[in-house]
Every structure is written in structure tokens, then in C-alpha cells.
Symmetry: D2
Subunit: 366 residues, 4 copies
């Protein structure tokens, strides 16, 4: 399968270019009988809007979704769901730079190398716009997951050098600051840091944490399609994300086997892990505890600082870029969550085929 | 596709159980005309052997490969390559524990939850044995890559809290110590650390770095099948690996856009990046610089320390496990490298279809 | 992959319902550098219009295509091509019957059984409308094939009991009659036959032949992905098509091995088959001769004749249907051709990866 | 996915060459809890043996299967099933002809064109040997289907010009003659016909019919993955099969819409079709009636009659071949049945994901 589709059973295909006629998504493999409305999808898209902060350049990116097929009377009918997303403020003009300068940190050069055509698509920015289509698909995935009692808690855990302290974090705080950080004090520090960078035309990266509750044990296939492998692929396929870890992640290497081997307990008729070093999986299969993923987001390369680079003819140029957003980390939260939701639905569906008895029950065979 | 295959065009399917009749692999989509012998494959398998250290329990795991199809007169013929791997020292007996105790950090519980059958496969250890089949497939992938001038440099960058210093590292050192660390001094410290853990029956994790040279620009698809997404999936599908990052990775979040946007230069008729913060990719597509991946390996959960857990009936037990290996990190190096090689071949092949002119050249159409 | 996508490398995903907001298609894996315009696509859609015959109910089905992404300045840019097709005359109202009566020969019942929701999608007719999206994708596939010197000759070979005679057929005739038959006399007889059926409210099936010229030898994979297997799947996925054969097809069983084993000759520096019993393939791989496929199209079940059937509550009803079209066979020609073109591009691309030397040439490795 | 795998969820991968070390198959996506033994598989392989007839050259092809993984204590455990098939009588020597003469009707030429290596695999015969691996996989698929109450009735419906008469056919007869024809008289005529051909060194083709009972309504996806499309692909991927039709097939074109639109009835609490023109499907989805498939098998090209052809240097030669089998049609029956079983399991599993309520039931979500 070519590279614009994700998922084997629950399959999401996105399309669109910044200079083209909108962007969109086709979601195939959605079961019939799921209630979903344009408003539901819109509420996820709204979480992807640039946050309004004093230091941030005014940017009106209002994405509006329309559902074209797959839903009858507010309920999925089993046919593919097609959605189109339009944005009145996206300028339908070519970025006059593109195709001339290989901007630092951006994908002008790699598009040129791969496709050999003048990459007049706005590239960097284009890639980021495509994530709106992923969020629309994620909304559908979350509608499925909600019916199975699965929910997400997602937030920003660091911006530049400013990290949250878990001891002073609370879920309620996430919505209370424009940076979606659960620690109000850290959010304040991060805002100060961002103001300073903004004044320089510079940009910041950060980390995002997602905690998924309610995933039953048994999801994930034991060899290549491990749940962590698929979630990592899903999240790493988002532009600017350059690292993914689960549970204790890289820090687990500082501990020992005795320190990270999560033991089991049995309480209220249910097996549970006493600790969760692995972040919700054992051997690539969900173990019923919370899935914990952490991703790093690179600082956006579109900065308002003049840098030396070359153009497509190899001539050295001073490239004076325009700062886009001081940080995209807060709005990337819903994108990460959406990709995880899409991958999870795909694997939950695959898991249903792991036991012959369940298959017989479905088909009511005697 | 079910979960025991990896790759879309160059497809690797593994099979096997520790208690079964060997393990094996089928590799489909191998082009005709690649020279490869059993000796070539065997040399990769040998890199996966447990290292001999004073403190390490003697464990004879000698894997021997035989090629059953797909190669005629030492050259691939276009048909699928099937290989079987046998190991004289694998005890063909059931682990008497399995199916009774849910061992801490191991996958007894998740297999039970998923398949509902007594998991008499040795699990944990089983999963690790399957990686021999991946290494055999990786050897074939590397034979393809070598023809394209692509090579790997892989090593251990940390064991527990002991990290290499880049300033005192050298490629030549990698083979000079049993831990495959390029820094001899760090290797010495790590050996002391491991001796201490070994005495306690405990185990250590660590990190692995892989640097791939010679990958041409243009490899990777721009939306979901980004090169980093596929490499992350490939590497995260290895048991005990719980984190993957590229280039500067998580540390890039501490820098800024101005600090991480790699600018281009033009020298000797070739575009090059002056720096490589992103680890060889821009927008998910290779940019011609080195691909740099870092993975974290959890400490193995099979330790010789008694821990409290429960059995499959929920009864609390004191589980006195047997330490397997004090650290698997050195022998995981070739496994990580193999999964990267497999994913790379798949994406190099897909990239060949990105330009109409190249397709016409292939078919010599006028 | 869910069922609304076709192809592994060159992937076509369609969406749409008759009562929804248009229909559409996303084509992924299109190489950059192919010239294609909305007019090109429109000309294929025009071939799918109902033909105007005296006896045929006036039906204005004017499909208009718009291209939303993937094409810059008239040239493909490597990103997915999204197209939407609108039809002013499609009535945006529910078929009031649907969901009540299980119409004979139509898919009301199977949708109900599969999705468990009232199938308010117009079913039968809906399915047929979706083929417009396939034709739009086929136009893109044919633009690729044209660059490789591959072309199609497609026509109706029988309507009901009236078959063309090859001795009195000529390619020029195909466009000269509304039934797209290469034999003018047979076309006349078929028109008389259809007039009679039309008067009764009845409908006719027929057969379609497609001959593909210019396919190089070597296309198709030798095991499951044989060229004939993939073409059969592609064509059989069209509604109402219930039979596919290649070359001499079923009639070959009346001959013998000596009669059907096509021998080779060598002329003008090129190997050729003296005969073509197999229809362009040997062992599932194209042999450089013409690919010959024949498909049977069932008579459309939507007839203007009252029939006894049951409703969804099991109550027997007299269902008085409305005749749709007396025959869809002529307009199905371009649909069959389109599906073959889509499958062919996918397999031509896969074939490029069969030889290591060609891969090295592409990557200019030394 | 490369071409040696079939199926998306229930995935079968075959490998092997006639001159290599046996052949084999890996079956992934088998649910845990299915009882299956080597004897079960062997009984299917035995149906693929060449039949013993006076006129047939003695050919000892005794395939023996061994199961290497995926089954514990006679029950599938969810891991991939690997099986190897050995045949003591397969001569481990090169066919000295291969690589020199392009034999009429065989795939020497297409392999050479595709892979560019001397095709020393025995080709034609090789391809046919690979079908043993498909039959082994089919045995596993049938074990799954049996648990769902689905069964097959398969037979030869014609050999050369000799067809069975349905009026004088009976299921009991199928096993009563070596040609697997349900009509004893036709079987007698066919044997006489084959004796005559055998004396000449010639070969015969024929047709095979398969009737599948017990398939529930709802199986098959409505767009590209129609049940008939997937079954056609599965069966057409068998060497020498060059035509597939469902229900009335090509003959339906001689009837009309009124004659072929199957109406529904309701009896014993169950919806049923009164007739079955379409062969068990409506709109590509199973309708609960019998699935009826008919396939044509070309006469084998390996005949003992000297024919003019060319060698790989283009020089004309008189090729004196050796007759292999006068007809492979009877032993192809179980191969066709096996491919249908494999495709059916894949689609039954996919169908389980079509309704949200069923998914909730599986996960016991409230």
C-alpha cells in the first residue's frame, strides 16, 4: 500500500495540499452503528487550533469539516466515511520561495530529490496542515473507542527546558492554560520562555504525554505488530516528532530487571500489575493497565532568523525566513492522541480474531 | 495482514516456538541476482550469540541456518527465500512454570488473555529466540543494501548508568570488547557494573545506536510511511525495546528552531547538510546524510531474585526465577540493525516508483 | 486493508453514496511527472454515460469531475490525487422502497444482514454510481500506461444471445454504434432485441472483451499475485460481473495440450508467441503478447415487471419495480477497462523490483 | 505485500522450488483453539495425488507433511503455523532442458524475462508442486470453517468435451471414480477420451465445480473486496486455471433480468432466495445460499509431441517434450477448494468487524 494510508482493517487515507482545494480523509472499515456528527469531529479540530497568546502572531486557522459519505441519520452505515476540511484563511497562493531555496530544516530538498518536480506545495506548512485530516479521522476512532470504554488523557509535559512536576500536576489544569500543561506553575514558566523566543523569532519544542485508560488485555500481535510498534509508527509519522518511548522509556535503562519487572496482583476479580514500568504492555500485547506514551516534538524550523543555506542551484544564500508559530507543541497534543486512537482501533479489531470460540460465538455456530 | 509479517514489498515472515521444531523465516520480494550464501547469513547469526564474560552463566546458543529455497547457485532467483534455524542446545522441554505463575515483567499473562490457551511456549525466552529469524532476514536485506553502497555502524552506547563518551570512542573498539562499546573505558566500567548485578541475579538494560551511511536522498513516503515512522515500528517490534529516537532525539527539545534547523551546503557537486539534528531525514524522507537511530533496551525481567506475584488462579506466590542473561544489550545490536535493514530495503524499493521518468527508463518506453 | 481500496503500491480508494454529497476517489502511489487534466478524466467519464437509444428511458447522468490535490500545473507531483465527482441529476432523496422490500436480485438483504442498519443508500444503483470513481482513477492509470506504450481496445462482444462475428468486426465500428460493438450487423440485431425487452420492462446482459497491447513481458508475480489473478479480482469486483476468462477461456477445455501450448518464434530481435491461447500470460506473468480478457455482465435486476418477494419482516409482497436501463453492458466497457488499467499499473510497478541490476541502475550504485 | 502471500488477516505464505529442499507454508492469523493434526492435513494432501489409471504414467508423488510450529497438544495456539512438505520421489536434479528451450505453453520465457536469471527451477512443474503447500493451508482453513458449519462439495464437471449431466449426477459418485466426476457414465466416457489422448502423448483440460454450504449472509465487502472478487483472485492464482464464473456464469447473459433476479422468501424463521442465479452472493456479499463457483483448467502444456519453438538465443528447435499427466483436472479439485477455503476464512474474519454492537459484545463493554 502506498504511503498515504494507515491501518490494515480500520484504514485512514488522507489527501491535500496547502495550495490545493482543501484537504480530506477517507476512513474505511468503520463498523456500522456508531453515532457521530460533524459537531463531534469539529470539537476535535478545534483542539488543533493555534493557541492565542500575547506573543503569538495572529493566525486564523479555522478548519471546518463536512462529512460527505458513510453516515446516515447520524449513524455510521458501514461504507467509507469521507470528510473534507476547508479553511478560509489558507492563502491559495504559491509560496514564492519554494523551489528556489532549500530552507534549513525543511523538506524542500527531500521533495525535490524524491519527486524531481518543483515542490510548489508549501512543504513544511503543508505537512502540518495534513494533520487536520488525521484529527478528523481520530474523532471517528475515538467514537468507536468510547463505545468500548477507552479514553485518553493527553497533555504537554515539557516546553524547551521547562518540565512539569508530577507532584504539582492535575488533570483539571490541562484546559486551564493555553499550553495544555497540567502544572500551572510550569505553564507560567514556559510562557515566559516562549515570549523570549518569540521576540527573537525563534521557536521551541517539547514533549507530549498520552495516557490511555480502559484498553483491555490482549490487544497487539506478538511478533511484528506489537502494540508498541504500531503506536510508535503512528506517532512517529507526525511531522517534527523525532522520539517515542513507553512507560519509563529511556530512563528504564538506569534501573535493573528487579526494578522494572512489573509483578501481578489479583483484586476485585481482576488481575492487575502492581507497577507499570512498561507502560501498559508485556511482550507487545496490552496487559490491562494504562498505556503511557511520551513523544518529543522538535522545535519548528520556520524561524524569523536569517540563516545561510543554498538554493536549488547550489548557490549560497542568506535565507530570511518568517517565524510561523513559536511552538506547535500544545496543538500537536490532539494529533498524537488521534494517531494513537486510529492505531488502537485497528489493533482492537484484529484482536477479535485471536480466539476460535469468540469467532464461533459471533457466527452463532453450534 | 496478520502480525507475523513485516514489509509491504520486501516482506519478512517469521515462525517458530522455543519448544517447537526450530524457527524459520520466509523472505518474499527479494530481487533476483543477489549473491548470498549460508555462510553470509551465519556470520550475522554469530553476532547474536551471547557474549562470553566471566560473570555470565554459560549458555550455548549456537544457531545454525539452512537455506531451503530462493537461491540457485548462490544467487537469488526471485522466488521467496525460506530459511530454517536450528539450535542444538535449546531444550525441547516445557518450562514447567509456564501456565501457572504470571511471572513479573513477562508475557505469560498477556498470552493467556489474548489466546485463552495455556501458554506453553516459554514466552519471554521464546520471543527472544524468534529474533534469530529476523537476523537471518536482515542478512539478506544487508546483501541488497551492500549492492547499493549502504552500510551500518552499530554499537552499545550505554549499559545501565554507564554511557560512552563520544570523545573517547572509536569504531575499531566496537569489536574489541564483549559489550560492543566503542569506548574501551566505558566498557570496562560497564563490565564491573554487570559483574555486580550478576552476583545479585539481577539484570541491566542499555541503549543502542545505529548509524547508516550511504542512504540516498528521497527514501521514505511523505505522509504515514515516513522513513522514521517505519524504522521506529521496525525497531520497536523487538521485545524489550521501549524507546526509539532519531538524531538529537528527546534532547532536541532543549534546543530551539535556530539551533536544530539543519542548513544546506553544496560541495563536490552534492548537496549536504551542515549539521544533522534530525538524524538523516527531513519531512520523513532521507536527505542523504547519515541516519542516526538510538533505542533503549529494558533490563530483562528474568532475574534470579524472588518476587511476589500471582498465579493464573489469582493466588499470591513467591516466584523464584532463574537469571537468564545479565544483559542482552550487546547481542540486541545485530537485531536492531537487522530490523532497520529490512525496513530500509522495503522503502528503497517503494521509492523507485516515485518518478515517471525513472519508470519509463526501466521499461525503455520511448 | 478494508475493502474500499484496491492495489498495493498504486492504491485506489473510492467513497460515496447515491444519497450523499457526491462520490470521490483518492489515488495514492502515482509517480510524479505525469501530465493529466480534468478534461482527460472527463473524457473517460463521458464514455460511462448511458447511451441514447430510442427505446431507452431518458436518463441524464452527467458526471463532472474536479481534481482537488496531487496535480500541480497539470503534472502529478507525487502526492495523492483526490477527485470528486458530482452529478446534477442524481436526486438527493431516499428511494422510498429501500429498507422495506428485499428486491429480487438486489443487495437490500445482504446490506441488512451485514450492517444491521436500514440500508438507505439506494443499494444496487448506488453500487453502480461508485463505478464513476473507478473510471476517474482508471483515467489516471491510463495516463501512466500511455507513457509506457500500453493501450486498450475494449468492446461489447455480445448482448443477450446476439454475439459479434470476428470475421465481420472492425475496430472502427466500435464507436459507430451506441452498443460499442465492433460488428455493425450484430449491433443492429442487438438493438432490435433490446427494444423488445425494453417494451416489457425487462433487461439484458452481455459480454465485454478487452485487449491490451504493449504490456512488456515479465509483469505479474509467480505465486498468488499472478497477473491473471489480479486482473480477475479487479474485474470481478465490478457489480453484476459474474464471470471472467482469459485467452481461449472455458473453450480451451475442449482443445488439448498440443492445441493450446503456444510455441515461440524469434523475429525482428524479439521473442513472440505464434499463437495466444492463454491470452498474454504464461505462469501468471505477461509474455509480451496481447492480454485478452472476457467478462460476462448479468442482466440488471432492476426491471419493470412485478415480482413476488418478501419485505424485511418476512411478509410476502408483490414488488413492482421500475426499469432502470435495458442494458448497462455498453457503459460497463470503460469500467472494466479502468479496473484492468488500475491493476496493471500496480503490477508494472511491482515488477520493477524483480532484478537487482535494475535496482542498482536506478540508484546509480557502482 | 510481495506475491507469495495470500490474505489480509488470515495470511498464507508459500515457498519452495522443485529442485530445492522441500516446499512449505506459513499460515498467520489462525485463531487459538482449533484442533488440527498432521493426519488432518495429510488427508487433504492425499486428495492431490495423481490418480492411478491404466493409461497414466506411473508417477509416485507422495507428499508428507510435518508441522513445525503453531500447534500445541493438537490445538492451535495463536502463533503462525509452519508446515514443511517433503516428497521422496521428487528428483533433486536440474531439468537439463531448462534455460535453453522456451518450451511451448510453459513459463521458461516469462521467468527469464522477469528475473533475468537462468530459470533452473523446473518452472511449469515447479508451480504445480507449490500447490501442495496451498492444500496444507487449505486444510487449516477448512478446520476453521468446519467449526462454523461450512462445508464443500467439489467435483470435476467436464474433461475435454465430456460434461456431466446433472440429472444423472450424485454426490456419492464423486469418490467412486478416479476422475472425481459425480456422473458415472460421463466418467466412463472421459476415461476413454483420456486413454486416446494418452496414447498420443497429448493432454486434456476440463472444468471444476465447487459448492460451498453454510456460509452465513453478510460475508464480503461491498466495494473492491467483494466475495466473488476475492474468490476469483484466489482460484485464478492457480496455474493453468484460465476462467472463473459464479452461479449461472456466462450463460446468464443469455437470460434476462426477469429471469435472473433471485426473489426472496421467508421460511422457518429464515430469509431464503427462491433461485440462485448469482451463485450465493448479491452485491458481492454472501446471501446465505450456496456459493457456486466453476473454473476452467487448461490442458497441461507438457505433452509428448514434438513441437517447433525457439531456444533462448532465438534459434528454432524441435522440442520433444515428455508427457507429464494426461489430465491434472481431478487432482486440481482439492487445490481449487483449498484456495476458496483460505479466501473465505479471511473474509469471514473481516466480516466480524462490520457491526459496532458485535464489537461491543466481544469486548463486553457496557
Amino acid at each position: 500500500m502506498a504511503g498515504s494510508s494507515f491501518g490494515k482493517i480500520f484504514t485512514v487515507t488522507t489527501w491535500g495540499e496547502p495550495v490545493g482545494n482543501g484537504i480530506g480523509v477517507v476512513i474505511d472499515g468503520v463498523p456500522a452503528g456508531v453515532a457521530i456528527s460533524e459537531n463531534d469531529v469539529q470539537s476535535y479540530l478545534n483542539r488543533r487550533k493555534p493557541f492565542k497568546a500575547s506573543f503569538e502572531p495572529a493566525k486564523h486557522e479555522n478548519d471546518f469539516v463536512s462529512i460527505n459519505s458513510g453516515i446516515s441519520n447520524g449513524i455510521t452505515n458501514g461504507l467509507p466515511i469521507a470528510m473534507t476540511i476547508t479553511n478560509s484563511s489558507v492563502r491559495a497562493k504559491k509560496d514564492e520561495n519554494t523551489g528556489k531555496v532549500f530552507r534549513p530544516g525543511q523538506d524542500d530538498f527531500t521533495y525535490e530529490a524524491k519527486y524531481g518536480v518543483a515542490a510548489n506545495r508549501g512543504t513544511g506548512n503543508a505537512v502540518w496542515r495534513e494533520t487536520a485530516a488525521r484529527v478528523a479521522a481520530g474523532a471517528v476512532a475515538q467514537a468507536v473507542l468510547a463505545r468500548l470504554g477507552i479514553s485518553f488523557c493527553s497533555y504537554v509535559s515539557s516546553i524547551g527546558p521547562v518540565s512539569i512536576r508530577y507532584s504539582s500536576s492535575a488533570v483539571e489544569n490541562i484546559g486551564a492554560n493555553s499550553l495544555r500543561m497540567p502544572d500551572q506553575e510550569a505553564a507560567g514558566e514556559a510562557l515566559s520562555y516562549l515570549e523570549k523566543l518569540s521576540a527573537e523569532g525563534n521557536s521551541a519544542g517539547g514533549t507530549i504525554e498520552v495516557i490511555v485508560s480502559g484498553v483491555p488485555a490482549g490487544v497487539g500481535e506478538p511478533v511484528f505488530n506489537k502494540l508498541d510498534a504500531r503506536l510508535a509508527e503512528a506517532v512517529m509519522s507526525i511531522g517534527l516528532i523525532n522520539g517515542v518511548e513507553f512507560g519509563e522509556g529511556f530512563a528504564a535503562t538506569l534501573s535493573t530487571g528487579a526494578g522494572t519487572a512489573d509483578a501481578f496482583t489479583f483484586a476485585s476479580g481482576r488481575f492487575e500489575k502492581k507497577t507499570n514500568s512498561t507502560g501498559g504492555m508485556l511482550g507487545g500485547i496490552s496487559d490491562g493497565s494504562e498505556i503511557v506514551l511520551r513523544a518529543s516534538v522538535m522545535p519548528a524550523p520556520a524561524v524569523g532568523i536569517t540563516m545561510k543555506t543554498v538554493d536549488s542551484e547550489g548557490k549560497e544564500v542568506d535565507y530570511a525566513g518568517t517565524a510561523a508559530e513559536t511552538t506547535i507543541v500544545p496543538r500537536a497534543v490532539v494529533v498524537v492522541e488521534s494517531m494513537m486512537a486510529i492505531a488502537l482501533v485497528d489493533m482492537l479489531f484484529e484482536n477479535m480474531l485471536s480466539k476460535m470460540d469468540a469467532i464461533r460465538d459471533f457466527y452463532k455456530a453450534d
